[in-house]
Symmetry: C2
């Protein structure tokens, strides 16, 4: 496949800013080899093999700027599909900036954010969901978000949609053929088969829409409020949850440390513990009424509420009222009975008639903390995660899928009502439009610019 080569050659630093052992500058476009030949005069890159590495000096205005390694990728065997070189220099921001300036003086221009990937998309190297997954992978900070992004980079998501789209296109063509014979009242498109296909697309669409709830969790994490009476042991539980995991979280550079939120990564899902400062401050001497108010506020903010109580203090009647309350509020919650170290787990269980909803722990003795974590994860995943299936993490895809479902409903209704083929064809085209919008077969420039502007520079 021959690639489009853009007239303007773009250049950018591809590695993070700051001092490091090395820094990599990326060049792509028509003048790539011309520019690198000018800067690296000891070789003629137009004659070198693709996918080869070259050590030497970058020279500009007769001065050596750096000793570098140049990687070359010939069109179309490159990320963008154009001729690409990567210049790996010493990691001095000053030196790297000079090399970039030298590229610009020789005819390149600074790349916009995401512009390399945008060219890759426009050259058909990636479809739109794959391109978006590149940004997701760079932003990924848990194993689940990483996996979801890689699944999409490899085309898992779009492959599914493309197949359905092609089958819909075939039906659409048949129905449109009917229009040419409209006087004769023929039906080239088998309505039963069409109905089956629509049902199939609808099923896939619905399951993708449903996956967005999890996708959102994968992307943004899940907020957790720990509430309960003073002395229930909230701050002890907080420490128990954070203790082991803190090291793991701090291993990930970029994790925000300066908010009051604490974040724990359990099985690849980020749980953001909200108002942990509040827990630490008010753990002992909170005023009851203010405490209640605060608890209600926190419940409203949280995706998941952990209600912690002292098994030795609470009555079964009180607990019943609390459960009712949660049901009314429609909160996702976990009931956690603390301080089983003061009685026995068995007698605690008996007190609450072996209620399977309650998890019994001892925060201070770190008993059953792992069980609590498992329940937290299960509450989020609801057993529905198959890591091999597509998880929609992107709000743009989610909204297109919802519009697709509406259009599918219209097609179904049209078939049921036996409306004329030309009207059905319009609804099918709407379906095709939304499907194409997701994978990028149908785009407009503004939308593309918006999508790629959220990338980092150099990608």
């Amino acid at each position: 496949m021959k690639s489009v080569i853009w007239e303007d050659t773009i250049v950018a630093l591809a590695t993070p800013p700051g001092i490091g052992a090395i820094g990599v500058i990326r060049l792509s476009g028509k003048k790539t080899f011309e520019i690198i030949n000018e800067l690296f005069p000891s070789k003629n890159f137009a004659e070198e093999a693709s996918h080869s590495l070259h050590v030497g000096f970058i020279k500009h205005h007769g001065e050596i700027l750096d000793e570098v390694v140049v990687s070359i990728y010939r069109s179309p065997r490159s990320y963008t599909g154009e001729d690409v070189v990567e210049i790996s220099g010493h990691g001095s921001p000053f030196v790297l900036q000079q090399i970039i300036n030298a590229c610009i003086e020789n005819g390149a221009r600074l790349a916009r954010p995401g512009e390399f990937t945008q060219r890759a998309f426009l050259n058909g190297k990636l479809d739109l969901t794959q391109a978006e997954a590149v940004a997701d992978l760079i932003a990924s900070n848990t194993s689940i978000s990483q996996k979801a992004a890689l699944h999409n980079i490899r085309g898992g998501f779009s492959q599914q949609l493309k197949e359905l789209r092609e089958r819909l296109i075939r039906f659409s063509a048949l129905i449109e053929l009917e229009l040419d014979f409209s006087q004769e009242d023929v039906e080239f498109a088998d309505r039963r088969q069409l109905q089956e296909l629509i049902d199939e697309v609808d099923k896939v669409t619905t399951s993708l829409i449903d996956s967005f709830k999890l996708g959102n969790v994968v992307r943004n994490g899940i907020s957790v409020a720990i509430i309960g009476k003073p002395n229930a042991g909230k701050s002890t539980l907080l420490n128990a949850l954070l203790n082991e995991e803190r090291a793991i979280v701090s291993d990930i550079p970029g994790t925000t440390r300066d908010t009051v939120e604490e974040v724990i990564n359990i099985d690849g899902i980020l749980f953001r513990l909200i108002d942990t400062a509040g827990i630490r401050q008010h753990s002992t001497d909170i005023i009851e009424s203010a405490g209640m108010q605060r608890s209600i506020e926190k419940m409203k903010q949280a995706d998941l509420v952990i209600y912690l109580f002292d098994v030795n203090e609470i009555t079964t009647q009180e607990l019943g009222e609390i459960k009712n309350n949660f049901s009314i509020q429609q909160s996702r919650y976990l009931l956690v009975g603390n301080k089983i170290d003061l009685v026995s787990e068995q007698s605690a269980r008996e007190k609450f008639s072996e209620d399977p909803e309650i998890l019994f722990i001892s925060a201070i003795k770190q008993q059953h903390i792992d069980d609590l974590k498992e329940r937290m994860v299960n509450t989020v995943l609801e057993g529905e995660v198959q890591t091999e299936s597509t998880i929609v993490t992107n709000a743009r895809h989610f909204h297109a899928l919802r519009q697709l479902r509406t259009a599918l409903g219209d097609v179904k209704k049209g078939i049921n009502d036996k409306i004329p083929g030309d009207l059905v064809a319009i609804d099918i085209r709407r379906c095709l439009h939304y499907l194409g919008e997701i994978t990028g077969e149908i785009t407009n420039e503004d939308q593309l610019d918006y999508i790629f502007s959220k990338f980092c520079i150099g990608k």
Copy 2:
């Protein structure tokens, strides 16, 4: 040349931490290909050509971690001299950390700071001054520091010393031969030629020692104090100096912005303007006596003092006293007469009898600011910079050179005093020792560890 291959294989992130388009991980050592074969199972890297690039997936425990480009460099054609691979992955710190962890699980260990360069040095890929210049280049933030580092990376400095060292070694061997014939009172080593060589080494050594004053400026910049009476126009001058250059300085990531110092880069030299906050605060309503005290303090801290005065206010007598004062204090200073826009430049010149030491400017009209900058640079360079010659920027080299000069003096004195050859030989060996210490022919492990510990990780 066959390289030493270390038993342990080292791994590190070579690019700066943080999120970027890409991040590069470097592996070097005996198990390099074994590890990359394990992680990138679609190729057998033991059979691939050196200096080639390979696109594919990193897999670990059956899971895909990332889509990457692997660069391979076969021993001895690599930075360290060992088998080296570089894995260029998506710039997510989380993903890169997982790849590093996978390398470690497969038998690598995390590299210490500078350990790749240390191996390069131990394999004779670089001598010690070249290795040190790598770190200097990464830290370089002006064109002069960059040029000095590149000169040394290319072996400019050590080449000079190595030649002298070899010639000294020959003399040393001849003198030591005399010892075997000590009964016969022969002189194999021509004392006149030896004296000439010692003079030559001494001359080179002295010029290198002298270059350290500039080298220090190149490395650390030069501190400048602007002093003068209130209303002389100090804050206006400060703004005039900063105005154009500020953009250039802020182009350099890593320039400290949170100190009260402001930094300007003039012709590749960093001028650090001290106490600029003081100038801004006290420019108008300073109390005279406190102002004087402050000026003296600032003069003591500064490498260069700019004395600014209002040409319309100061008397020639006052100015004479100020010049005397500077001479007594042995400060490097520039006399700058401001506000020539209020009179004429000509009448200002005449008032001070065409004193060539005074530079006349108008800070507010930005007149002759470039001339001031030129004078600032000349004051530092004192006309002595030939960019092609070696500038000693490294304190370790400076101290070794000073010890070398002492030892050379002892050799000279010994020859003059016609002391026995065996005693001269001891002094020559001291010279050889200090020369070898600079280039790394003579080292001890502690010293090496100390030198390389100041590198960044991944280099």
